[in-house]
């Protein structure tokens, strides 16, 4: 527990995955943040994922 709390006293290195708004909020407060351009495969659409696996098998 103590280890987790320790990070709040340090300069954080932040990588944000998903909504860019979270990264924008941090950046606007002067906290360095890298936004990772990532999306779940098939945009999280299970039908598209099934079709893909059948097409590519």
């Amino acid at each position: 527990m103590n280890t987790v709390n320790d990070i709040f006293g340090k300069q954080l290195k932040i990588l944000n995955i998903g909504l860019e708004q979270f990264a924008d909020d941090l950046t606007s407060q002067g906290i360095p943040c890298i936004q990772l351009d990532w999306r779940p495969p098939a945009q999280g659409d299970p039908e598209a994922a099934d079709l893909l696996s059948l097409l590519l098998e």
Binding site: R39, P41, A42, Q43, G44, D45, E47, A48, L51, L52, L54, L55, L56
Partner: protein, 420 residues
């Protein structure tokens, strides 16, 4: 061929094609399967009762132009009578912008793909505003079409023939480097046409008044070159169609109700879903509430890797279709995620001469969840009004899912047959 090999063959054809503008003919004389009682339209198949307002307006105008009806009432009766056939341009080696109505008497450009031997056809651009392709059919629209048949078509035909034809891919390659995306910005391509064709126009033997009126028309129509470019794209896309096993899209087209795609490895079958409505800039007095859903065959430009896929090369375009240049670059970059290659001919100076994203791959669309981004003219939803703006729109994901479902079914059927 497996999928990868089939796709490589399609991408090769998309880039190695040699489309030339070789002439002009009457639609009924040159378009395969054209008949006196047939009208060709944009997008996937649709019947008169299902057509959107601007397409019905264009049908009404075409029937008046052909002398088959004297007014709107007669035209509506005739269109509904069953005496007139309606078929997609795409199924006749043709394309048409917006409503895309091609009627038998219209002059059409002839594009010849010299590498693969196929031909494509498209009518002549009328300009913006009150024009047939946006559903207008007032006397000024019909008079302009008659002038195009009587003067513009014959003068251009003579000039093109005298020139020995024009390498249209070379012209588009140059126009893309001069700020055109060659879908909704065609100023450079139009200027290049006038520059190259001027010397031949002057030697056609037509009167000074006729030649001057042709130059004036070209000068007043910033989209003049669009139709020739669309014909070029169709001649390229058709050469890449019907490669078994390929998942590359060879047609995207809209009829104002549905958006349809065809896939190289899936034959001539259309995969359709309801068309989206564009978001954009409107002429004074109009708003999104007036706009018709996405319409036209002009998405043949994006199909072969220009238009919306090259928006980063056309900063001035955003003032016509809305948005900002940052978004135009973002959209252009996004298209690399869903396409098979970077075009070796069509380059974007602003992206360090990166080739345009070319060959939409069904598999990549499903993998990324990204769909083709298109820029487009916007037609009023009611017949008789015409163009009310221009904007941006996306292809519906459902078209790609339907094509994938069909391809999976075919694959499973082949397996069953092999094991039986």
């Amino acid at each position: 061929m497996n999928r990868e090999e089939a796709n490589q063959e399609v991408l090769k054809r998309l880039q190695d094609s040699e489309p030339w503008l070789v002439g002009i003919g009457r639609a009924i004389d040159v378009i395969p399967g054209m008949k006196k009682n047939l009208l060709l339209h944009a997008g996937p198949p649709i019947e008169w009762v299902e057509m959107c307002g601007p397409m019905q307006g264009a049908v009404i105008g075409a029937l008046i132009y052909e002398g088959l009806a004297k007014d709107e009432e007669e035209a509506r009766k005739l269109a509904a009578s069953g005496a007139i056939g309606f078929e997609p341009n795409h199924e006749h080696q043709a394309v048409g912008p917006m409503a895309g109505i091609t009627s038998p008497s219209m002059p059409v450009y002839i594009l010849h793909n010299k590498k693969y031997g196929n031909y494509a056809y498209i009518n002549l651009n009328e300009g913006l505003g009150k024009v047939l392709r946006f559903g207008a059919f007032s006397p000024e629209v019909i008079d302009r079409l008659k002038w195009m048949e009587r003067v513009l078509g014959p003068v251009l035909k003579a000039a093109i023939e005298q020139s020995g034809g024009m390498d249209w891919k070379a012209l588009v390659t140059q126009a893309l480097q001069m700020g055109d995306d060659c879908h909704n910005r065609n100023r450079a391509a139009t200027a290049l046409f006038a520059k190259q064709m001027g010397q031949h126009l002057c030697k056609t033997g037509f009167s000074d008044d006729d030649i001057s009126s042709v130059f004036a028309f070209i000068n007043g129509n910033e989209h003049f070159a669009l139709n020739i470019t669309m014909g070029m794209c169709k001649s390229i896309a058709d050469a890449a169609h019907n490669v078994e096993g390929s998942t590359i899209v060879t047609a995207m087209a809209r009829n104002g109700v549905d958006f349809g795609i065809r896939v190289s490895g899936l034959g001539d079958r259309w995969f359709v879903a309801p068309a989206n409505t564009p978001k954009g800039l409107y002429f004074p007095g109009f708003s999104e509430a007036d706009s018709n859903p996405d319409l036209g065959d002009s998405t043949i430009t994006e199909t072969i890797g220009i238009g919306g896929f090259a928006m980063a090369t056309a900063p001035a375009l955003v003032s016509f279709v809305g948005g900002n240049y940052k978004d135009a670059v973002k959209f252009t970059l996004e298209m690399y995620e869903i396409t098979g290659t970077e075009n070796k001919n069509f380059k974007i100076p602003a992206l360090d001469f990166r080739g345009t994203a070319t060959g939409v791959d069904l598999v990549k669309v499903l993998e990324t969840g990204s769909v083709p981004r298109i820029n487009t003219g916007i037609a009023h939803k009611n017949p008789g009004v015409g163009q009310i703006g221009a904007g941006l729109v996306t292809a519906p994901m459902e078209c790609f899912k339907k094509a994938a479902r069909y391809m999976v079914e075919q694959k499973q059927n082949r397996k069953q047959n092999a094991s039986a």
